[in-house]
């Protein structure tokens, strides 16, 4: 009974299935996002989707989205990280001290800050993975410790302004290397951004098409061709629309470029790498994973290191955006990041979730925030709505699970 041996009997279906498969538990979040966008577009008379506003939404929420990516991996593994807000603050402060007070060039300062984030992550990862203290406790302690460190580093006052390069990373836009091009009634738009958008769309089609071909080759189930076109076309259309709007405003924000790289990279890591698969295995059933030879402790350790690095990156970007590292930076960011992950389909017990889901969850909150402030709603109402959305998202998740059982 070796693996290489040919199947002793032909698979029941000699032809690949072409069938529409929709998982309500996973797709619900994207439908909800679309509905929320439509709702606020109508309520704000289209202001929500105006070029400058789209750009604002992305730039103002980039650091939460970066945190949400790391948080998703931690929650999939069945842990939680309450300290990211404080880590954001202490890393922003460190970067300010290095660049502003010590005059270090921006790139080494940024790299050093990321290393500091890794060290912080390693500290917490050690207690969680090797010492066996629940992550809730370790990171609750971290939340206090790193906030205290922030105050100590900053001497209880803000430090700024940051070098231009860091501000550009947080707030700036790609240059219009090739100049503008007229888009008829839409006015002028940046050619580089448009080309990037077209390249992105082409990549979507290419990757989807290759995956479909491969799946057909292995006799797996695929969508019928029109549905495939509709799905890929829909994704392409959204990407293109966002890019056109951004190109009409001020080209692509650098943080969007960064976020795109992070999302692609981490999606790949989570879905296709052995490391990523092991995270899901640990979250799904830790003991079974251990008995299957998964190195539970090192993997737990490294996802906390990863979270530390991403929190440091978010810290630099947040400080750069405000052009100052302040003692209260990052307050309650952990809650937004955790909420983004849960709205985006993570399960409380772990083992479930997607990086794209965390981003979508973060964007849902971002659009609610932005849309309601455009409507002039006071912040308490915004908070109330966000809280109810979080509750509704998790309730929906549990409801679909119970219905399936």
């Amino acid at each position: 009974m070796t693996v290489t041996q040919a199947p002793s009997q032909a698979p029941e279906t000699a032809k690949p299935l072409r069938r529409i498969s929709i998982n309500p538990r996973e797709s619900g979040i994207y439908v909800a996002f679309a509905l929320i966008v439509v709702l606020f577009t109508i309520l704000t008379d289209g202001v929500l989707l105006e070029p400058q506003n789209i750009s604002n939404i992305i730039v103002q929420n980039s650091y939460i989205l970066i945190l949400a990516v790391g948080m998703m991996l931690i929650i999939i593994a069945g842990h939680i990280d309450l300290s990211v807000g404080s880590v954001v603050a202490v890393c922003g402060a460190l970067c300010a001290v290095l660049t502003v007070e010590m005059g270090m060039p921006w790139l080494p300062a940024l790299l050093l800050t990321l290393v500091a984030g890794a060290v912080i992550g390693a500290w917490q990862g050690y207690w969680v993975a090797y010492f066996g203290i629940p992550a809730f406790i370790v990171t609750l302690a971290g939340m206090l410790v790193f906030r205290a460190l922030t105050l100590w580093v900053l001497g209880n006052q803000g430090i700024g302004p940051f070098p231009d390069e860091i501000r550009t990373l947080s707030n700036g836009f790609t240059d219009g290397y090739l100049g503008n091009i007229g888009l008829g009634p839409l006015g002028g738009a940046d050619l580089v951004s448009l080309l990037a958008g077209v390249a992105g769309v082409a990549a979507i089609f290419l990757v989807q098409w290759r995956q479909r071909k491969a799946r057909l080759g292995y006799l797996q189930q695929v969508d019928p061709f029109p549905v495939f076109l509709l799905k890929a076309g829909g994704a392409a259309l959204v990407v293109l629309a966002v890019v056109v709007q951004l190109a009409r405003f001020k080209n692509l924000p650098w943080v969007l470029v960064l976020l795109t790289v992070l999302v692609l990279g981490y999606s790949l890591l989570a879905n296709k790498s052995v490391f990523g698969r092991h995270i899901y295995a640990i979250g799904g059933n830790r003991q079974a994973a251990e008995l299957s030879g998964v190195k539970v402790k090192p993997i737990t350790f490294w996802i906390f290191v990863n979270m530390g690095v991403l929190a440091a990156l978010a810290g630099v970007i947040f400080a750069g955006r405000l052009n100052q590292a302040g003692p209260t930076a990052g307050n309650a960011f952990e809650l937004d990041a955790i909420a983004a992950a849960f709205i985006g389909g993570a399960a409380v017990q772990g083992g479930v979730g997607k990086v794209v889901g965390a981003i979508t969850g973060g964007l849902i909150m971002a659009v609610i925030n932005n849309g309601m402030s455009l409507l002039g709603q006071p912040s308490e109402i915004v908070m109330l709505v966000k809280g109810l959305v979080l509750l509704a998202a998790v309730a929906y998740d549990i409801w679909t699970k119970r219905r399936a059982a």
Binding site: M1, V3, Q221, S273, V274, G284, N285, L291, S292
Partner: protein, 506 residues
């Protein structure tokens, strides 16, 4: 005698499945009535209908208890009528005391405050009735499974039980505890308590039941008077065919030795200094199926898991020799790469990721072999999983089906697939057919035979002696952590093995 309980025309449908179809059950007052059937036959569903877990209106048919139509909308309703169900998984709170557990939800209180003296006194009385000699204030976590089972029964008695339903009460008990429990049930019968018992252990059913109702595929097949039936008669009712052979035939071709442990000694990780495995030695040969018999608590699983990359125990000493060379297995990864596989006795807790699909469970222990530079070759993974689904006969619509929804037998096939994929030379199978119905058992036995025919050495750990006798070429007996004997297939009898398994340390 008049029936105390009559269930007529019970039909219960879940989305897509008819779990029960026109089931009838009549239980006479003061008898012990056994319900037998393969896994998935609908036994537990029927009991959940009776006890109100599925409320009135969610099923069709009618229930009459003590000449009254019953429409229970919750478990509380049925308990008020004296129908108490004890589930397979015990529902006790481990940190609470025996007395607190007995009166949980039913507290002896005055003016909203619990009267502890009365509670503990009453609990003591109930413990005496079930023959459990423990202090009522002892936390339940300090009791073994057998005693916890007795606490459950005491709890049922505290509710003035008229009809006691036990779902697989002896599944987790050793023979002594089982015997004690069966005696207790006989005693309760004398006191006028009617019992419905669900059990896979047919010997036990024959020993205790007055009548037996057999379910198959959600239908009532027949009700038999226990005095006149044999085990084979019950089995043929359950599977719907005469099972002339419970074990597939096999001609063993045994080769040279591949695996040996010598003087293997393991200490308990919890109680320091306590020996769990004591200088055990055994050897396995290519193409051989070897049994490991032992009572619960003899150290079978502990022996297996400590060998499997030190997954259990501390202060482990002894030698492991594979293919004539001593090897050191410090971790599960070491064990896997040395060609050792361990299939756990508790597949839900230790064997499967129940929220993931078949594909990802099959590949879980061999992702490295299915990947290139740290990236999983997903299509290859899918192909391999499909291949196993076909070859092992895993009944599921596709390899994307979530394992948590499969039946016990199919889950076990997924776990076996996972380990066969690692291409091991030595497989340790811990209770490979626990909680699996008769038909699926036969399939698992065939797979085990096939593994041996492919030249692998297989060590089977089992509580069921007939299983070991039917399957193995050679059987070791383990008693209190020591190998007390080795018996060849030709000389092995249940009596001989039982004698070795109960041998005390000299």
């Amino acid at each position: 005698m008049t029936p105390i309980l009559a269930m007529r025309g019970i039909t219960k449908t879940f989305p897509g499945v008819k779990a029960l179809q026109d089931v009838n059950l009549a239980v006479r007052s003061g008898e012990i009535h056994a319900i037998c059937g393969e896994n998935g036959a609908g036994k537990s569903t029927l009991m959940k209908v009776l006890s109100g877990v599925y409320p009135h209106g969610s099923y069709d048919g009618e229930i009459t208890f003590e000449d009254e139509r019953c429409r229970f909308s919750s478990v509380r309703d049925s308990e008020r009528r004296g129908i108490v169900i004890i589930h397979q998984e015990l529902a006790l709170c481990p940190q609470l005391s025996i007395a607190e557990n007995i009166f949980l939800g039913n507290e002896l209180a005055r003016g909203g405050l619990i009267d502890w003296n009365r509670t503990n006194h009453a609990a003591g009385e109930l413990l005496r009735r079930v023959g459990l000699d423990e202090n009522p204030v002892t936390p339940v976590s300090e009791l073994g499974v057998g005693k916890q089972q007795l606490v459950e029964i005491a709890k049922a008695l505290s509710k003035k039980v008229r009809l006691l339903i036990l779902d697989e009460p002896t599944a987790a008990l050793n023979d002594t505890d089982s015997a004690h429990l069966l005696d207790l049930l006989r005693g309760l019968r004398e006191e006028g308590v009617t019992c419905v018992i669900i059990s896979h252990k047919l010997g036990e059913v024959r020993a205790i039941a007055d009548s037996i109702t057999i379910l198959r595929d959600g239908r009532t097949i027949e009700t038999l008077q226990a005095a006149e039936v044999t085990e084979d008669r019950i089995i043929s009712g359950m599977v719907g065919r005469d099972l002339s052979q419970r074990f597939p035939p096999r001609t063993p071709s045994v080769g040279e030795e591949v695996f040996r442990i010598e003087d293997w000694t393991v200490h308990s990780p919890v109680h320091s200094g306590r020996l769990v495995v004591d200088r055990a030695s055994l050897s396995l040969r290519r193409g051989e199926i070897v049994g490991l018999a032992g009572l619960m608590g003899a150290g079978r699983t502990e022996l297996a898991m400590s060998v499997f990359g030190r997954s259990y125990g501390k202060d482990i000493s002894g030698r492991i020799v594979k293919d004539g060379r001593e090897i050191h297995l410090r971790s599960v990864q070491d064990a896997i790469s040395q060609g050792i596989a361990y299939v756990t006795e508790d597949r839900k807790r230790y064997g499967l990721n129940l929220i993931e699909d078949i594909k990802r469970n099959v590949s879980a222990a061999w992702l490295g072999g299915l990947s290139r530079h740290g990236w999983v070759r997903e299509h290859e993974e899918h192909r391999v999983a499909e291949e196993f689904r076909a070859r092992m006969g895993i009944k599921a619509p596709s390899v994307r089906s979530v394992t948590g929804k499969l039946s016990g037998g199919n889950q076990q096939k997924v776990v076996l697939s996972k380990w066969i994929l690692t291409d091991p030379d030595v497989l340790i199978l811990d209770e490979p057919t626990r909680g699996i119905d008769v038909g699926a058992k036969f399939e698992i036995y065939s797979i085990i035979n096939q593994l041996a025919d492919d030249g692998k050495a297989v060590l089977v750990i089992s509580s069921e002696l007939p299983e070991l006798l039917g399957l193995c070429d050679r059987i070791y007996a383990l008693s209190r952590g020591r190998i007390t004997g080795e018996v060849d297939r030709a000389d092995a009898t249940q009596e001989r093995l039982m004698q070795l398994m109960t041998t005390d340390r000299e």
